[in-house]
């Protein structure tokens, strides 16, 4: 039998028990407060795979329960709004398209609509240009929701849906490449119309996509909807009701998942949405499951809209008739995006000196926009995307502010996460679908 110099010992029913004492131990024990000191602070992000880009969350945890959650943003701030003030009005579209990089067409369209309203040419936009904008926006909505489905699936442990979502999204990006020359950051929708007419092979591709997509959607639902882990992770998680949403300014699928059918395409229509046939899906529960259901239903509604827009495409100009505003709109698509219009180059370089002067002035100097301010809002995949544009009468924007749904919606994260489990922070954050490029601008 061994005796210890360090611990007293006694015999019990379950064997010998040593009681260890000494040194600093007593002071350490007396210095802690087991009731209140259980809270730990965890920094999630800014480089965490489950925070949708460079979002940092500071979580105060008690065990696995989140007591306080604070989001820290700004890691992707690129000063786009300030930069716009140093470029002419048309150059602005190449900047704004880079804000919310999953919904570039929406950024461009909102900007174009704002500039057109300032110019007072809203009614002069050709029907074909407006229809193309609707077509592109709805395709973009589908691709954005697909990325949401893919990344949210991955974050909640469903890896296959990530591959499927990105696969189908790639198909839409192919369509965009055929039309605009680029997969992302298109600068396609410009003040006055669009930069390029839709080529015929793009129409064929879109029709193919519409034929293929319903089967794929069914696949997603077969994969996720009945799966117990998916329902456990989403149902009754990160609930936010209508009151909470309106107070925090949350719009888009999150608001609709709480039961309020607020969709700017219906309630304050633009681009002729009032003439299209589509429904606004809602869900009563206001949880992550509801947002999943709403987004899947919105993909279906967007497909209806794409189909109607395709049927409405009639030949015609895609740029406003006013030559003081219209940039040369028929550009050739090159390997690296939109290139030159050979016809236009031949005209200005070979035939008409006045055309050359006009082209030079329009491109380097730009057009003037009468002074004033406007606010234009459209329904982006994440909610109300608003543009507050101010002109002082010059060729450059005086001030452009983007009311970004990602930025505003992220404020709801503490309301959703506090009091819940740490695993549900991921589900709740993902269900808001924040895109940090848009949030930080």
């Amino acid at each position: 039998m061994t005796t210890s110099n360090y611990a007293s010992e006694r015999e019990t029913d379950e064997g010998r028990v040593f009681t260890v004492t000494g040194g600093d131990w007593d002071t350490i024990v007396s210095g802690t407060d087991p009731i209140n000191d259980e809270r730990i602070v965890v920094n999630m992000g800014p480089q965490h795979p489950s925070t949708h880009g460079v979002l940092r969350l500071v979580l105060e945890l008690e065990g696995e329960t989140v007591r306080e959650a604070r989001s820290v943003i700004g890691y992707l701030h690129t000063g786009i709004e300030k930069n716009l003030e140093y470029r002419n009005w048309v150059q602005g579209s190449t900047f704004v398209t880079r804000m919310d990089y999953l919904a570039p067409i929406f950024n461009e369209t909102a900007y174009a609509l704002a500039v057109e309203k300032l110019l007072g040419i809203t009614d002069d936009i050709t029907e074909r240009a407006t229809t193309i904008r609707v077509l592109m926006m709805e395709l973009n909505r589908i691709s954005s929701h697909l990325v949401w489905l893919a990344t949210t699936g991955m974050e909640l442990g469903a890896i296959s849906i990530m591959l499927y979502g990105f696969r189908e999204r790639e198909y839409i990006l192919d369509i965009f490449e055929t039309i605009t020359g680029l997969r992302m950051n298109h600068a396609y929708v410009r003040p006055g119309g669009v930069a390029q007419d839709v080529p015929d092979d793009a129409i064929v591709k879109i029709r193919e996509f519409l034929k293929m997509m319903p089967k794929k959607l069914k696949e997603y639902e077969d994969l996720l909807s009945g799966q117990p882990i998916w329902t456990e992770r989403t149902k009754n998680v990160a609930v936010l009701d209508v009151t909470g949403c309106v107070a925090l300014g949350i719009t888009g699928p999150v608001l609709r998942s709480a039961g309020l059918a607020w969709d700017l395409r219906k309630t304050m229509p633009y681009c002729g949405y009032e003439t299209y046939e589509f429904d606004v899906p809602t869900h009563p529960d206001g949880d992550v499951w509801g947002r999943y259901q709403v987004r899947l239903a919105e993909i279906r509604e967007s497909m209806k809209l794409v189909e109607q827009a395709l049927d409405r495409l009639r030949p015609g100009p895609v740029m406003v008739a006013d030559r003081k505003i219209a940039w040369p709109a028929q550009l050739a698509i090159g390997v690296d995006g939109m290139g030159n219009s050979l016809e236009h180059v031949a005209k200005i370089m070979g035939q008409s000196m006045e055309s050359l002067i006009h082209h030079f002035k329009l491109v380097t100097e730009g057009f003037r926009v009468p002074p004033g301010q406007v606010y234009v809002a459209i329904e982006a995949p994440r909610g109300e995307l608003g543009v507050h544009a101010v002109s002082d009468g010059g060729t450059r924007p005086y001030r452009v502010h983007y009311r970004e749904p990602s930025f505003v919606n992220l404020q709801a994260l503490p309301a959703m996460a506090e009091g819940g489990l740490i695993a549900d922070v991921i589900a709740g954050g993902a269900s808001l679908d924040p895109v940090m490029g848009g949030c930080d601008r």
Binding site: I73, G74, H77, G79, E81, K82, N83, E85, Y86, R87, N88, K117, L118, G120, V246, A247, L248, G249, I250, T251, L260, W262, T267, M268, T364, E365, G366, R368, P370, P371, G372, Q373, V374, Y375, A377, E384, G386, H388, V390, D392, G393, G394, T395, R396, Y398, R399, H401, R403, F407, V408, L410, Q411, D440, R441
Partner: protein
């Protein structure tokens, strides 16, 4: 990083000249000193021999709207006037432009007006869509403007409220108690313009780093940038290139 005051004035930025009559208190006048009003090519005594340098563009000032405003604007004004006794003191100016209604509000009254706008049954502006700043340098002593875009989901209406403060005393009450969504948007306006919202629970920088100096979206804050070499030629940074105004 260069400090905002390193360079006096670069292309496209209006000069900080306070024009005559600017103390009338009326905000939203565009800067008369802005290059946009200085002639077609914005040149100042340089070697322009085309003769166009003397051309002056006439710009229509944005004036106070007169009744009837049209649309729902009259109803909104009447309802606010009825529900808010201090209307005449609080509202400086009503502007209707491009189908949008703007109420210019005295900054110290902005929270009260928002409260009435939200709660009155005939107004019901439940949603604060957007809060943003704008810097009208050279237009007025109160050059920093805060622009609130309120949306009524019940009546499907929009109204813009605008409050102007000076750089020396950039204070106005926060509306976060009325519209919690204004929290981050007011922080952004503070970060970018240095507008201080009194009563905001946590008015700190949001997009720029915490130790950043200056407020980047003010008009006297330079864009910055470095020249780039392209095919042997040096291209100046955007704020030093020629601007056409």
């Amino acid at each position: 990083m260069t400090s905002p005051t390193d360079k006096p004035n670069d292309g496209g930025v209006p000069l900080p000249v306070v024009p005559a009559g600017a103390t009338s208190g009326a905000p939203a006048e565009f800067p008369p000193a802005s290059p946009a009003g200085r002639g077609m090519f914005g040149n100042q005594g340089t070697g322009d021999v085309s003769g166009y340098g003397g051309l002056v563009r006439q710009r229509q000032p944005i004036e106070e709207a007169s009744r009837p405003y049209g649309g729902y604007f009259d109803e909104v004004r009447d309802a606010l006037e009825e529900a808010y006794p201090a209307f005449n003191d609080a509202i400086e100016k009503v502007v209707v432009d491009r189908g949008e209604l703007t109420l210019h509000v005295r900054p110290e009254r902005i929270a009260e007006v928002c409260q009435v706008m939200r709660d009155d049954l005939a107004l019901r502006f439940e949603l604060c869509s957007s809060v943003s700043g704008a810097d009208y340098l050279g237009a007025d002593e109160r050059r920093l403007h805060v622009v609130y875009l309120l949306t009524s989901m019940t009546y499907r209406r929009r109204v813009r409220l605008e409050a102007a403060v000076s750089v020396e005393a950039p204070h106005l009450p926060s509306v976060t108690a009325i519209y919690p969504t204004a929290d981050w948007q007011e922080r952004e306006a503070y970060d970018m313009f240095g507008i201080v919202f009194d009563g905001h629970p946590n008015l700190t920088r949001i997009l720029m780093p915490d130790d950043w100096e200056g407020h980047p979206q003010r008009k006297d804050y330079p864009l910055g940038g470095v020249p780039v070499e392209y095919k042997g030629a040096e291209i100046q940074p955007p704020n030093e290139r020629r601007s056409y105004q």
